[in-house]
Assembly symmetry: none
Homo-oligomer: 313 residues x 2
Amino acid sequence: MDYLHNIKAVSMRTGLSAHVIRIWEKRYGAVTPARTASARRMYSEEDVARLALLSQLTQRGFSISNLVPLSDPELTRLLEGGGLVVAAPTSTEPLLDEDALIDQALKATRNFSSKDLVRCLDEAMLQLGASGVLERMLLRFLRKIGEMWAAGDLTASQEHFASAAIRDYLAQRAQSMIPSTSAPRLVVGTPRGQLHELGAVISAALARKAGWDVIYLGPSLPSEELAHACMRNNASVLALSIIYPLDDPALAEDLQQLAKLLPATVKVFVGGPNLAYYESTLIAMNARIISDLSAFSTTLRELRESGSAPNLT
Amino acid sequence: MDYLHNIKAVSMRTGLSAHVIRIWEKRYGAVTPARTASARRMYSEEDVARLALLSQLTQRGFSISNLVPLSDPELTRLLEGGGLVVAAPTSTEPLLDEDALIDQALKATRNFSSKDLVRCLDEAMLQLGASGVLERMLLRFLRKIGEMWAAGDLTASQEHFASAAIRDYLAQRAQSMIPSTSAPRLVVGTPRGQLHELGAVISAALARKAGWDVIYLGPSLPSEELAHACMRNNASVLALSIIYPLDDPALAEDLQQLAKLLPATVKVFVGGPNLAYYESTLIAMNARIISDLSAFSTTLRELRESGSAPNLT
DNA sequence: CTACCTCTGTCTAATTTTTGTCGAATTTTT
DNA sequence: AAAAATTCGACAAAAATTAGACAGAGGTAG
């Protein structure tokens, strides 16, 4: 019934090293495990759960000494609330507006500093909320990067670096929501030749947040592949991001082919800074152009709720 | 009807050595097999099942002395609740385990099931440890994907999906170690034309684990960009992954140019399934070919400790 | 800006307990 | 006779314990 765990098992389950588990006990009394006759620590299931919570929260930047006085339910709330519950600890910095945050993010990108970029995004999450970051800030950031790149103020490696760092950030912090089994599927990617994946990354995070079961494919997929992935997974939406180049005849052709391959049940959404060149093609294939991410988000929610997705195997 | 097994058979079915089975009986009374008139141990099917459970659980860090007092249903519950495994009963060679995990991962990839893929990776982390997963399993998985893709058994979208899912997984669970300020820098990416980033992802995770400050650039960067990123960040190592195509003359040229652009202080490591085509170029540019990831890992640790990295802003 | 301080995690060393492996002598099975 | 199991004791390796030292990050006061 109440099995007790040795420190090794606890270490494996919580991701904390045995050293840290002991030192937390000694310094802060984080948990007080039972002891065997020979002084081995034996942890209850509750101990393990608490340590797991502490582990998650310290990884997000909370300090262990502040965490320890809290009860388990408080820790849980903190974790779920994304840290919004408790006042920011002793930050005397002036509140940054969206523009300042974007500037900071650009600076971090220029310096290849993932640490600074993460800090900036954390700050932005607090200031603007998840939807503010996804729907507005990151989008503007992305456009800005595009402009600077075109102007030669930013290198491709810096752009790639930022994409990768933001991708990792979103994977880590964006709610790792497990989509319900009834969630409709959405395939995200960029078409062939489109190497910039940040737009797709943002859309994927947004869709996950809207309760969709997202299948993320990454950049540069030919139309057969996109169509195959949609059909194989019975997806009801395909979201594409087009950023550069913005006038690729091969891409227009590819899109036309995509329209032929794709069953009519799959709605196509396309986003990008300036889709004028592809507009006629997109209209012909009945794709919807995303110009506003919050509208995209709303649409996804509506689609999900209207449940127009008869999912079968 | 109740067939009884001799100790050898039990040993093979549970993966435990005959020695261990006996000593567990003697010290802890793990099971009490029937005996023949001449004192041979004869194990029932239930005995075998219990030993198999114990074997699985000890492999995960539970200690045998704690386990023995539990009943079979309790052991089962522990196995299911504590780990994330469904676990086929009683199949146990370590080699087979790794193969089975890879098979599972391939199946998840084919089905575009990130849930299954994550579960499989969690399981693998427990069974093989982080370095086992990074240095062996994922590498073999990657090769297998390459083969299947070449054979037409897997689509590009499936390959992309797996890359993205594994990338997210590693971002989430691999310890988001914050490198110390004195950590030497390493730039990771794939050269121009190389769209498959999984190899680079694995190297990046490995390097982070070895205490390096990793700057991840993602796929397909021209040599100027790679060189620029290295110099801009005062990196001491550049790690490249080359997977497909394996005979691209443009890439060979690009590598030569890279050698010219890169300062001599930057060591170059290159990994890939079969680098014969580029070998002469790589040797000429004094790059080191990675054929064994655990050796790569060791080398990185050594380099870091020998501390030949005068870092400046 | 520097010098100090605290917080936190890592690491080492010496010791003890737990656990797995081995060899030798003996008996049974093939 | 060779192969397989048995028991027993010895031993080696792994894991856990304590205590203390140490280093990096970040904050604070001068």
